[in-house]
């Protein structure tokens, strides 16, 4: 079974063809502003190199940073109305309250409060006031809103208000994009609501991008289903991605790390991913990226997504190199995607980290003669500095005092030295430059439950079983092969400072992607 994995990065679009667990071919093409151009070129390259039969491809997996970039740049965001059910509670902090001015303006800043929502035990804070909601809806439409983000207090416990609101919007404004907070975020109203608003603002762009992706894959003669990779390294189909673009946000670093695990066969290690501008360091545990223990801000907006725990420093293959042997300086400025025209070895006029690597004989690319004049002492000192800073980040990320194996991936990973202080081994696996596309290609399907359950005495096992079953069912519903689904994470936390039985249970399951008849 052939899988095509594609990673659309800011600089390069990488593509790999995988047969079972074997990498058949890999390629890199420059990313184009419309996203799809780079994909088309990459698929053409692969076809030219291998002559693969498009009909043999069973699935296409795409990882893209496009949506998070659009948010960061406040570009092509839909005018969005944020409507919350929570009154008479929550009024002191209305939706959009802590957003950066620039972003909230880009959305139109439409924020509304209605009565309702639930308590933690599932009882209503207030009844659904249909008249009130319809009036808010009218106001939002008149203000120009084209996408709707609906949140409700404790909607992970009871989604009734969000669902009723969605029915009314669908009836009044057929075809309008609706994002419901209980389908997007976890417990914690503001973080969940913010993620929902971000999602709503990206819905129009998601329509365009997913349509473009599907069209360019079909245009290459591939009729297989298309999936996008999510923050946790699992997959969603293209229709789901159209409705939940926000779920792609952290897929970049996750895919690199999952790809590194696949290529190196290591399940516990540090992954050093060196790109053109930055080096990202993360930790793999049981083959999955360690998640950040605290909430993560995206474009200065607080969300409660679980993101991989990644530390970045401004060193990459395109980093500018200045100073002298006594005090070399590498980065954080970078020539970025213009490496192949700017770097000395490619005939340019700028000294980059890649030139250092060529001068030191670490790699053979471009014209080594163009860096032969560099003072070896300076080259050594600058590369030592790169090594020291990478070692420092690995040291900060590692989970024990023991030295940890390091897997280096990414196009710039020639900069990672063969020995790194604090590393038990440094490994640069084959196909290291396209680890992220490989991570996309091998991704599985996931499902999750995160809710407050009432656990009566002696009922704990039954409640946990119920939650486990729900996570398994969700995973199968998301497209996993039933026999392969397994629980990967169980968390059980009693609500603090409250007596009684309320317990927050979070269970995550994953399984292999089901591709119909020819699975074997």
């Amino acid at each position: 079974m052939l899988r095509l994995g594609i990673d659309v990065g800011g600089t390069n679009t990488d593509a790999v063809l995988i047969d079972g667990s074997r990498v058949v071919a890999a390629t890199k093409a420059p990313t184009t502003p419309d996203v799809t151009g780079g994909i088309v070129t990459a698929i053409q390259d692969l076809a030219a190199n291998t002559g693969f039969d498009p009909a043999r491809i069973a699935a296409v997996m795409i990882g893209t940073t496009h949506f998070i970039n659009a948010l960061v740049e406040a570009d092509r965001l839909a005018p969005t109305a944020a409507i919350r059910f929570g009154l008479p509670a929550t009024g002191a902090l209305p939706p959009l309250v802590d957003w950066p001015e620039r972003l909230s303006r880009a959305l139109g800043g439409h924020s509304y409060l209605c009565h309702g929502g639930h308590e933690y035990d599932g009882s209503r804070i207030d009844d659904f006031d249909e008249q009130e909601f319809r009036a808010v809806l009218d106001k939002a439409v008149q203000a120009g809103a084209r996408s709707f983000a609906i949140s409700s207090v404790f909607s992970p416990v009871n989604a009734e208000f969000e669902q009723r609101a969605a029915l009314i919007i669908a009836e009044e404004l057929p075809g309008t994009p609706i994002s419901l907070s209980h389908e997007i975020g976890r417990m914690g109203l503001l973080g969940r609501e913010n993620a929902t608003i971000i999602n709503a603002a990206l819905r129009e762009l998601a329509d365009q991008v997913t349509t473009g992706l599907a069209r360019s894959v079909a245009g290459a003669g591939i009729s297989a289903p298309v999936f996008l990779s999510q923050n946790d390294g699992t997959l969603m189909d293209i229709d789901y991605a159209r409705r939940y673009p926000v779920a792609t946000f952290a897929s970049g670093p996750t895919n690199s790390m999952r790809g590194a695990a696949f290529l190196s066969g290591r399940l516990q290690c540090a992954v050093v991913d060196v790109g053109g501008t930055t080096t990202d360091v993360g930790i793999l545990q049981q083959g999955f990226p360690r998640e950040a223990s605290t909430d993560v801000a995206v474009a200065d907006v607080q969300t409660n997504f679980r993101m991989p725990d990644v530390l970045s420093i401004g060193i990459g293959g395109g980093s500018l190199v200045t100073g002298d042997a006594g005090a070399p300086a590498v980065g954080p400025s970078s020539v970025g995607y213009r490496l192949t025209e700017k770097a000395l070895v490619f005939g340019g006029d700028t000294l980059t980290a890649t030139d250092l690597a060529v001068a030191a004989g670490l790699t053979e690319i471009g014209d080594p003669g163009r860096v032969a004049h560099l003072d070896p002492a300076f080259v050594r000192a600058a590369l030592d500095q790169v090594a020291a800073r990478m070692a420092e980040v690995v040291d900060r990320m590692r989970i024990s005092a023991e030295p940890i194996p390091v897997v280096a991936v990414g196009g710039g990973s020639i900069l990672v030295p063969d020995e790194l202080a604090g590393a038990s081994a440094v490994e640069r696996p084959e196909h290291y430059a396209v680890a992220n596309a490989i991570g996309a290609a091998i991704a599985e399907v996931g499902g999750e439950v995160d809710r407050v359950f009432s656990v009566a005495p002696n009922q704990r096992d039954a409640v946990l079983d119920e939650a486990r079953q729900e996570a398994l069912d969700r995973t199968v519903a998301a497209g996993a092969k039933p026999g392969t689904v397994r629980i990967v994470d169980v968390e059980e936390v009693p609500l603090a400072y409250l007596p009684g039985n309320a317990t927050r249970i979070r269970i995550k399951a994953v399984g292999e992607l089901s591709l119909g008849g020819d699975d074997a």
């Binding site: 929570g86 008479p88 509670a89 929550t90 009024g91 002191a92 902090l93 309250v97 802590d98 929502g117 308590e119 933690y120 035990d121 009882s123 804070i125 207030d126 207090v153 404790f154 417990m187 914690g188 109203l189 503001l190 930790i283 545990q285 360690r290 950040a292 223990s293 605290t294 909430d295 607080q302 725990d309 530390l311 900060r396 990320m397 590692r398 989970i399 024990s400 005092a401 023991e402 407050v452 059980e492 936390v493 009693p494 609500l495 603090a496 400072y497 409250l498 007596p499 009684g500 309320a502 927050r504």
Partner: protein, 352 residues
Amino acid sequence: MATDLSDVLPRIRAEHVDALAAGAVLLGSGGGGDVSVGRQLLHRLVRERPVELRPADELAPDTLVIHVCLVGGPDVISERLVDPDDLAVAAQAVVDHLGGQVGAVGVLEIGGLNGLIGVLAAARLAVPVVDGDLMGRAFPLIDQTTLAVDGQAITPMALVSPAGDIVLMTTGSARATQAILTSTAVAMGGAAAVALYPTSAATLARVGIHRSISACIALGTAYLDPRATDVRAMVGLLGGRLLFDGRVDEIRPRRGTELGSVTLADPVSGATARVDHRDEFLAVSCDGLTVAATPDVVVALDPSNRSPLRTDQVRLGQPLVLFSLPSLHPWPAEAAPIVGPARFGLDLEPTT
């Protein structure tokens, strides 16, 4: 009145809020809830009107001080949020019962969200906040205060729900007050705004914990200092005492009143540590020796991003650096049954 006030702020302004919140997280000893909702509200309120910060001994001795806090589950508060109006209504309900008027608001506990809630109430009521608190950290029980140790009454106490329900308890024993507080908060949806411990500035000057808001802001400022590049440097900058550096080996969650615990191991030396917790970290034992115990403040820092973790944020396999912070208050020996390990059912003999 010859105290050196050079490091006492006259007012809490918007630029102090992040440091206050960061300090309150550290002083929460792994509990006290999530400060983020309080931080956002306080930013909004003090931007318009800074809050006057006054040590108890600088207020007129007969000034009526009401303590204001939230009780309930952090998960409830993170959904239903906090309304400063509810805090003001609770304080007013106590004053209406007593007669007179609110002269200042007191902070019940400097650790966690409640470290900000008293300031928030003072901002909303436009009165000064007393530069002090009653716990010196976060504690789960309402009588774990310097005032209770001194025999002062918790009541009259008022609880307010977002729906506008008000419950006033005019008088009661510590035991009944705790039970009524908890059950009323549950009836109010799992959290409530509370005003209690009405007292005088003179009493606070005698038995309150002094300058804890200033100390909290100073602690938070040191924590946010970008110069603390590694964890050990940060522990030094905070004046902390390093207890253990290792990885989480085992987590036994709290069940009902039964305490939970976290076991850590240092893979190089083979040393192990055990942290007992209820809603806060209560004690740390290294290789069987108790090296810190309540009322000591214990901080568990994730060294990868240097953030202090609450008891519910600790995960298996995670690296943790444990340290204790200098005490804000010299608890007298007779306070041990109220704030010491025995109060939580821990049979420990601290060795420090």
